[in-house]
């Protein structure tokens, strides 16, 4: 069973067995425009909720993507290094950013579900 959460910062977090996969939403990639560079964390790095975990850069500007909870980076999406545009073409699929082992899954309580997120950007 997996559960997907959404943040006000337009990130999605899919949780499966205590591991969260994090990416940005379709709305976010559309707002940012064509991405040309992604700075990813190192596997094994420790993140605290609110830390800048990833920086995505469009032709015009750089934007931070925050850690939605405390935890340890389990894996990063290395394909983005050579093909940042995957985030534009498949933000909730092949354009995922990183996976992290959550220290305390309850930190995600209170985030939006998909219906609430969609309502928030409508």
């Amino acid at each position: 069973m997996s559960q997907t959460y959404f943040t006000e910062d337009h990130e999605w977090i899919k949780v499966e067995n205590g591991v969260a996969t994090v990416g940005i939403t379709d709305y976010a990639q559309e707002q940012l425009g064509d991405l040309v560079f992604v700075e990813l964390p190192e596997a094994g790095a420790t993140l605290s909720k609110g830390d800048t975990a990833v920086v995505v850069e469009s032709v015009k500007a750089a934007s931070d993507v925050y850690a939605p909870a405390d935890g340890e980076v389990a894996e990063v999406n290395d394909a983005l290094t050579s093909e940042p545009a995957l985030i534009n073409s498949a933000p909730t699929g092949d354009g995922w950013l990183w996976k992290m082992k959550l220290a305390d899954e309850s930190q995600l309580e209170g985030l939006m579900d998909e219906a609430a997120y969609k309502a928030s950007i409508a």
Binding site: G33, D34, V36, F37, E39, E57, S58, K60, A62
Partner: protein, 367 residues
Amino acid sequence: MSDTKPQKHLPLEALHEDAGARFGAFAGWRMPLTYPAGVMKEHLHTRESAGLFDISHMQLFDVEGTGAADFLSRACPLDAAALREGQSKYTVLLNENAGIIDDLIVTRLGENRFMVVANAGNADRDEAHFRAIAGDFDVSFTRLERVLLALQGPHAEAVMIAAGLDLSDLTFMTGMEPREGWFAARSGYTGEDGFEIAMPLDEAERFARTLLDDERVQWVGLAARDSLRLEAGLCLHGQDLDENTDPASAAILWAVPKALREEGKFVGAQALQKIIADGAKEKRVGLKPEGRQPVRAGAPLINEAGEKIGRVTSGGFGPSAGHPVAMGYVTKTLSEPGTRLFTEVRGNRIALDVHSLPFTPQRYKKG
């Protein structure tokens, strides 16, 4: 800090809304930043076909009178009397310290008539400066209300002909008045061949629609306008040029003929002579960051030892170049192409090399 001044709206705003533009604030205007195609495709489309830009935020001034040429030669380092009818010239407005108030294009339209095109953000400052000088000359100085469109790219000329406006007699940096109240120049801000066309407000929508009906034409927003001009090595006033930079440091002395510098008639001439005699301490250069990470305006430039030796004034990704591109100011001794410099972005040291400008070849139609 948010901009609390009311935003100015483009006369053709509804057309941009219909095209699905995303808007943002620039120089006091609500401007289309991108369209649904996105900055990358808009940029490449301009280089491959014809990109249409609404640049009505830029300000046209009509300068007319028996003293017009002398007036312009006082206000700008420009031999206005030597311009042929129809000839355009890139020039600047300088303050008494030779600081660059704005960069402009001046076109001679008749014996005693000139058109000046100025940047949006500086239009009020320019007008006040021009008017302060105009008092000494027999000249009228008028702010024009126009829609200004730019059509840029290899198909621009053919598209114009198809739209009923044959401008094929114009060569790069020449201009004319094809219709009453219109002004057309073969110039632009992309490095491509193309035109900038001003027209009365009530004729603009129809003409823009005619251009857009041509399948070779696509709207291009401000985001791609910036990446195009940066690849072409062209300066953006407010970033690469300002009142604290002078034409020598900015590497645009080619626009200030030596004879005029020596003659010293224009505002700022004495200060500029002194800067040239003493040697400019810094120079504007192109910068090519190593790797894929863009380096943005405001980033410091440092040498191997970590000492500050300059600053980035414009930077981003060059869709046609296929790599990050930037420009900035460096200590004169480090301005040779190939010189290795560094910057720091979020704590990471990134290497950059001084690179000749432009990054992509300019494809103007010269005479």
